[in-house]
C-alpha cells in the first residue's frame, strides 16, 4: 500500500487536559514519530474548528491515518470518525488516545502525566499504522416479529406491531393469555378491575388478523441474526403429540414475565403450616371470589399485611419488587370497605409510593385508619399461633422501628406480599435468544438508562417484568417502546452491520472447531463439507473471544487485530 501519512491532534480540552498534561510536549513527541506528517494541538478538537482542522489536513496533506489524543473514545470516537469521513477518509483509519479520563483527570503529577500521555499517543500512532479501511454490510429485514409471553407486556407489544400491519407470532407457554395479570382482581392505585384491562387487550388481539396466537407453545431454538432469525416453536396441544413449527422472524420481543416468590422459603412466616397465612395472589383469589374470610369461614377482625416477602432481604432477593407496596394499600382499602369493623395492620420496611397517584393513595389508606408498623431489613417478623385467651388467631412478633418497641400484632388473617423473582426458565430463555441475565436472573438491557428495551443482541428486545420488577404502566410502556424500536427497523427495510466483526481466513482454518462453541451469539457456523468454520458478520458482535482462542490464528478480529495490538503495546512501552 502507499506510504503512511499520519496526522496527530492533541486536544487541550480547554484546560481539562492542558492544566496537567503538557499538550505541546505531547504534540512534539508525536511529531517526531515515523510516518507522522503533521502534529497539532488545539483548544477543543471536538469543536467544529477542531474537526474542520482534521478534514482540511486530510484533504490538503493527504493524510491516510488520523490520531486524536483527547478524551475517552467512548465520548468522541464517533465524532472524529465522522470528521474523517467528511474528509474523505475511511472512518476506521482513525484512532484515539485517552489522555483526559485516563490521564489528566486522574494524575496530579504533571511530569508523569505528560510522559503517560506521550506513551498513550505513541501507542495510538503505532496502532493506527495497521488499521485497515472497513465497510459496513447490509442485510434484509424480515417484517414479522416473534413475541415470547402472553402477559400484558407481550400482548401490548404484539398489538402495537400488528396494528402497524406487520405479522406477529405471540407465543404463550400456558393455555390462556393474560399471564400474571390474569390472577389479579383489581389494580392500584385507582382500583380499576384487572379483568377489564385484559378483556380489552385480548379482544383486540383475537380480532387482529396479523397476529397468530400460539398457546401451550414454547421457543425451542432461535438461529440466525437480526432481520433473519428462524425460530422453532413447539406446541403441546394436550393429547395429540407436540408439533414443531419453524417460523422466520426479523425481531424478537422477550416478555416472559416473572414468578412470585415462594413464601414457604421463609419458615418463620409459617406459610403452608398456619392455615390463615396466605400470599397476595391467594388474597387476590379471595377478592375475585368476593369473600374475605379465614379458613374457618369467619370474617377476620384483625388483618395483617406483611411487605417485602422475599424482597429487600440479603438472604433472598436484595432488590425491591416495586409493586407490592401499592398492592398492599389496595388490600387495606378493599378490606376496610368490605369489613368496616376490621383492623388492618400494614407491616412494612419502607413505603415506596412513587408513581402517579400513589402518594395520595398512601395518604388515603392512612385516613381509613390503617395501622402502619415498620420493621427492619433482615429482621423480619415471626408469626405464631395465638393462645386460647387471645381475641385473635395469630400473633406477629416484631421489632417496631418507629417506636423502638418489640411488639405483638394480633391477626386472624395474614397476607404475605410475595415479591417478584425471575422465572426458573429465565436462564434457558436467555440462552435460546442469546441475551444475558444478571445475578438475580433478570434480563440485562443494552443500556440501563439510554437503551432500556434493547439487549446486547441486535434484534432481541425485552419488555415487562422479565427485565426487572415493574408495575403495569411501566410494562406497557416498555412493550410499546420495544415495538416502536422494531417498527423503526422494519420501516428502514435493510439493516446496516458495523464493519467491526471477526472473520475467518478459510486458507488458514483447519476446521478444528475450537471456536464453534465459544461464540455467545452462535455467529460461527461450521461448513461440514469444506471442514471450515465461518463467521456470520451480522450475528457477530466483535467481542473477539474466538479470535483470541483460535489456535491456528485463522480468525481475524477486524479493527482489533493482533498486529494492531502488538504495535500498540510496543508504543505504550516505548
Amino acid at each position: 500500500m502507499d506510504e503512511l501519512k499520519i496526522g496527530v491532534y492533541v486536544c487541550n480540552c480547554g484546560t481539562n487536559i492542558a492544566h496537567i498534561v503538557n499538550a505541546e510536549g505531547v504534540k512534539e513527541a508525536a511529531a517526531a514519530l515515523p510516518d507522522v506528517v503533521i502534529a497539532r494541538s488545539y483548544r477543543y478538537m471536538c469543536s467544529n474548528p477542531g474537526q474542520e482542522m482534521i478534514v482540511k489536513d486530510i484533504q490538503e496533506l493527504g493524510l491516510n491515518r488520523v490520531v486524536v489524543a483527547a478524551c475517552s473514545p467512548r465520548m468522541h470516537e464517533r465524532t472524529f470518525r465522522n470528521a474523517c469521513k467528511t474528509g474523505g477518509l475511511n472512518p476506521y483509519l482513525f484512532e484515539m488516545a485517552n489522555i483526559r479520563e485516563q490521564c489528566s483527570w486522574v494524575h496530579a503529577d504533571k511530569l508523569a502525566a505528560t510522559e503517560k500521555a506521550k506513551a498513550l499517543t505513541h501507542g495510538a500512532v503505532n496502532r493506527v499504522r495497521h488499521h485497515e479501511p472497513l465497510d459496513s454490510l447490509t442485510a434484509e429485514m424480515c417484517p414479522s416479529t416473534l413475541v415470547l409471553g402472553g402477559g400484558i407486556a407481550g400482548m401490548t407489544a404484539a398489538l402495537e406491531l400488528a396494528m402497524a400491519g406487520h405479522p406477529v407470532y405471540l407465543v404463550e407457554k400456558a393455555d390462556h393469555l393474560g399471564g400474571n395479570l390474569a390472577r389479579v382482581d383489581s389494580t392500584a392505585p385507582y382500583l380499576d378491575s384487572a379483568r377489564d384491562l385484559l378483556t380489552e387487550r385480548i379482544t383486540h388481539l383475537r380480532e387482529n388478523p396479523d397476529i397468530s396466537i400460539m398457546l401451550n407453545s414454547q421457543l425451542k431454538s432461535l438461529s440466525g441474526f437480526i432481520g433473519n432469525f428462524s425460530a422453532t416453536i413447539e406446541t403441546n396441544g394436550g393429547p395429540n403429540p407436540p408439533e414443531r413449527k419453524v417460523i422466520p422472524v426479523g425481531n424478537v420481543v422477550v416478555a416472559t414475565g416473572y414468578k412470585e416468590f415462594d413464601a414457604s422459603r421463609i419458615t418463620h412466616y409459617g406459610y403452608g403450616k398456619l392455615p390463615d397465612v396466605i400470599t397476595s395472589f391467594e388474597f387476590e383469589q379471595m377478592m375475585r371470589a368476593g369473600r374475605i374470610q379465614t379458613k374457618s369461614g369467619k370474617p377476620p377482625q384483625y388483618v395483617a399485611i406483611i411487605h417485602c416477602v422475599g424482597s429487600r432481604n440479603q438472604e433472598f432477593h436484595g432488590y425491591c419488587s416495586r409493586v407490592c407496596c401499592m398492592t398492599a394499600l389496595k388490600y387495606a382499602n378493599e378490606i376496610k370497605s368490605a369489613l368496616p369493623d376490621s383492623y388492618v395492620s400494614d407491616v412494612y420496611i419502607d413505603m415506596h409510593a412513587f408513581g402517579k397517584g400513589c402518594e395520595d393513595f398512601y395518604k388515603k389508606s392512612s385516613e381509613i385508619k390503617t395501622l402502619f408498623l415498620m420493621y427492619g431489613k433482615n429482621e423480619s417478623p415471626v408469626i405464631r399461633k395465638a393462645g386460647p385467651n387471645d381475641d385473635c388467631g395469630m400473633l406477629i412478633e416484631v421489632d417496631e422501628k418507629l417506636s423502638g418497641e418489640r411488639i405483638e400484632i394480633p391477626a386472624d388473617l395474614v397476607i404475605l406480599m410475595v415479591g417478584m423473582e425471575a422465572r426458573p426458565d429465565a436462564g434457558e430463555v436467555a440462552r435460546l435468544v442469546n441475551i444475558s441475565a444478571d445475578k438475580d436472573g433478570w434480563f440485562i438491557e443494552s443500556h440501563p438508562k439510554l437503551d432500556p428495551v434493547a439487549t446486547t443482541t441486535d434484534g432481541i428486545y425485552i419488555a415487562g417484568t422479565c427485565a426487572a420488577p415493574k408495575d403495569i404502566p411501566d410494562s406497557v410502556a416498555q412493550a410499546r417502546a420495544a415495538a416502536g424500536r422494531i417498527l423503526a427497523k422494519i420501516a428502514k427495510g435493510k439493516i446496516e452491520i458495523d464493519g467491526v466483526f471477526a472473520e475467518i481466513n478459510e486458507d488458514r482454518c483447519s476446521g478444528c472447531r475450537m471456536c464453534n462453541e465459544l461464540c455467545p451469539y452462535s455467529a460461527i457456523e461450521f461448513y461440514a463439507d469444506k471442514k471450515r468454520s465461518h463467521v456470520i458478520p451480522a450475528a457477530c458482535k466483535a467481542c473477539g473471544a474466538c479470535v483470541a482462542a483460535c489456535p491456528s490464528g485463522a480468525i481475524k478480529g477486524r479493527h482489533f487485530t493482533d498486529q494492531q495490538i502488538y504495535a500498540q503495546i510496543e508504543g505504550v512501552l516505548a
Binding site: S366, K369, F372, L373, E405, R406, P410
Partner: protein
C-alpha cells in the same frame, strides 16, 4: 418481652377528640417545631406513635401530653393533617379519665349527655338544699345581716366543706397520676430531697405558666394567664373574704375592686374563648370537644349569675338578689364538683404536677443522647 399492641385504641380515642391520628407517618416535623419537645420528652411524635399502636400502659406512664400547651404549631406544620396538637389535647382528656379512679370522668368524656344530666341533677339538688335552708332559717326578703336568707357565714362553711371534698378527689387522682407516671417506674428510684428541691416548680408553673409563654405566639398565653389569675382571685375572695364580699349594700372597694377585676377577667376571656371556638379563629380552637363547650358555658353562666346577685344586692332589691344567689350557687356547685375533679378543669392540678414530675424525670432518668451529628446518625443507621 414483646408487648401486645391494641389497634382498637385509635378508634376509642376518637371519642376524646383525636380523629386523625392514623394519618401520621412520623416525619417528625411536629416534634421538630415544638419548642418544648426534647430528647427526653419527645412529643407529639412519640405519644402519637404510642397511640397509633394502642400501647395504653406506655401512654399512662407518659407525662408528654401535659407538657404541651397546645399552641398549635405542630398541627400547622403537619404535612399529613394528623392534628398532633389536638391529639395531645385528646390524650390529656384520655389521661384525665385514666387518673380518675371513680370512672366518672371517662363517662363524661365519652357522653356529653351524661355530663349534662349530672350537672342538672347536681344543680337541682343544690338549689333545693339552699332553698330549704333559707326558708327554714331566714327570710327571702333579707339578703344579709340578721335573718338573712342565705347568711354568708353558713355559705362560707359550706364552701369550705365542698373545697375539702374537691381537694380530696383531685388529690387522689393527682396521686394516681404520680403513681402511673413516676412512682411505678422502676427506673426512677424515690429520692425525697429531689422532690423537695424541685418543689418550687409547682407554684411557679401554676401561677406563671411560663412554658406557655415560650410558645410561638404569646397571645394565647396572656389570655390563659388572665383567665387563670381572675379565677384564682375570685376563688381566694370567696374562700377567705366571703363576709365582706356579701356585706352591703354599700360597696367596699378594698375587696370589691378585686372582685370586679376578677369578674371582668373571667367574662372577657371566656367570651373570647367561646367566640374563638365558634369562629375556629385559631389553630388550638379549631377542634372543640363537647366537654369544652360545657365547661365554657358553665363558666359564663356562673360569672353572670354571680355578678347579677351582687348587682341586685347593691341595688337594694334583696329578694331578687337572693333568687339570683340561689341560681348562682346551683350553677357554681355542679361546675366545681364535676368540672374540677372529673373534667377539663382538673388540668389546673395535672399540668403543674406534670411539669414538676418532668423535672424529677430529667434528673432521675438516664438522659438519651441528642443525635445531632450526621456521622452519629450514620453509625446508628449502619
Amino acid at each position: 418481652m414483646a408487648i401486645r399492641i391494641n389497634p382498637k385504641l385509635v378508634t376509642a380515642i376518637a371519642k376524646y377528640g383525636a380523629e386523625d391520628v392514623q394519618k401520621c407517618y412520623h416525619c417528625g416535623n411536629c416534634s421538630a417545631v415544638c419548642l418544648h419537645a426534647d430528647e427526653t420528652f419527645n412529643f407529639p411524635r412519640k405519644p402519637m406513635r404510642l397511640l397509633q399502636m394502642g400501647l395504653e400502659k406506655r401512654i399512662e406512664a407518659s407525662l408528654d401530653p401535659w407538657l404541651c400547651y397546645y399552641c398549635g404549631q405542630c398541627s400547622t406544620q403537619c404535612p399529613r393533617g394528623a392534628e398532633p396538637g389536638e391529639t395531645m389535647m385528646s390524650l390529656r382528656r384520655w389521661l384525665t379519665a385514666r387518673y380518675d379512679f371513680t370512672g366518672i370522668s371517662r363517662l363524661f368524656y365519652q357522653s356529653w349527655k351524661a355530663e349534662l344530666a349530672a350537672i342538672l341533677i347536681m344543680a337541682v339538688l343544690t338549689a333545693a338544699g339552699f332553698l330549704l335552708y333559707g326558708f327554714s332559717y331566714g327570710d327571702l326578703r333579707v339578703y344579709d345581716g340578721p335573718g338573712a336568707f342565705l347568711p354568708s357565714s353558713a355559705v362560707h362553711i359550706f364552701d369550705w366543706a365542698m373545697a375539702i371534698v374537691l381537694v380530696l378527689l383531685l388529690g387522689s387522682n393527682a396521686a394516681r397520676m404520680w403513681w402511673l407516671t413516676t412512682g411505678s417506674n422502676k427506673k426512677i428510684k424515690f429520692d425525697f430531697w429531689l422532690y423537695v428541691k424541685k418543689l418550687y416548680t409547682l407554684p411557679l408553673h401554676f401561677f406563671t405558666q411560663k412554658r406557655y409563654a415560650d410558645c410561638e405566639s404569646r397571645q394565647p398565653w396572656k389570655l390563659h394567664l388572665w383567665l387563670m389569675l381572675s379565677y384564682v382571685t375570685m376563688l381566694v375572695l370567696i374562700m377567705f373574704f366571703l363576709e365582706p364580699m356579701q356585706a352591703g349594700p354599700d360597696i367596699r372597694w378594698s375587696v370589691h375592686a378585686l372582685g370586679y377585676a376578677a369578674a371582668l377577667g373571667l367574662l372577657v376571656t371566656v367570651v373570647y374563648a367561646i367566640h374563638g371556638r365558634v369562629k375556629k379563629s385559631e389553630v388550638h380552637m379549631k377542634h372543640s370537644h363537647e366537654s369544652d363547650w360545657i365547661f365554657l358555658f358553665m363558666l359564663v353562666l356562673v360569672t353572670v349569675s354571680g355578678v347579677l346577685q351582687h348587682v341586685l344586692h347593691r341595688a337594694g332589691t334583696d329578694m331578687a338578689a337572693n333568687i339570683a344567689y340561689v341560681v348562682h350557687l346551683a350553677l357554681v356547685v355542679p361546675m366545681l364538683t364535676l368540672e374540677v375533679p372529673f373534667s377539663k378543669w382538673s388540668h389546673l392540678a395535672y399540668r403543674p404536677l406534670a411539669m414538676y414530675l418532668a423535672e424529677i424525670h430529667r434528673v432521675a432518668l438516664p438522659q438519651p443522647k441528642a443525635l445531632t451529628e450526621p456521622a452519629e446518625l450514620m453509625k446508628m443507621a449502619s
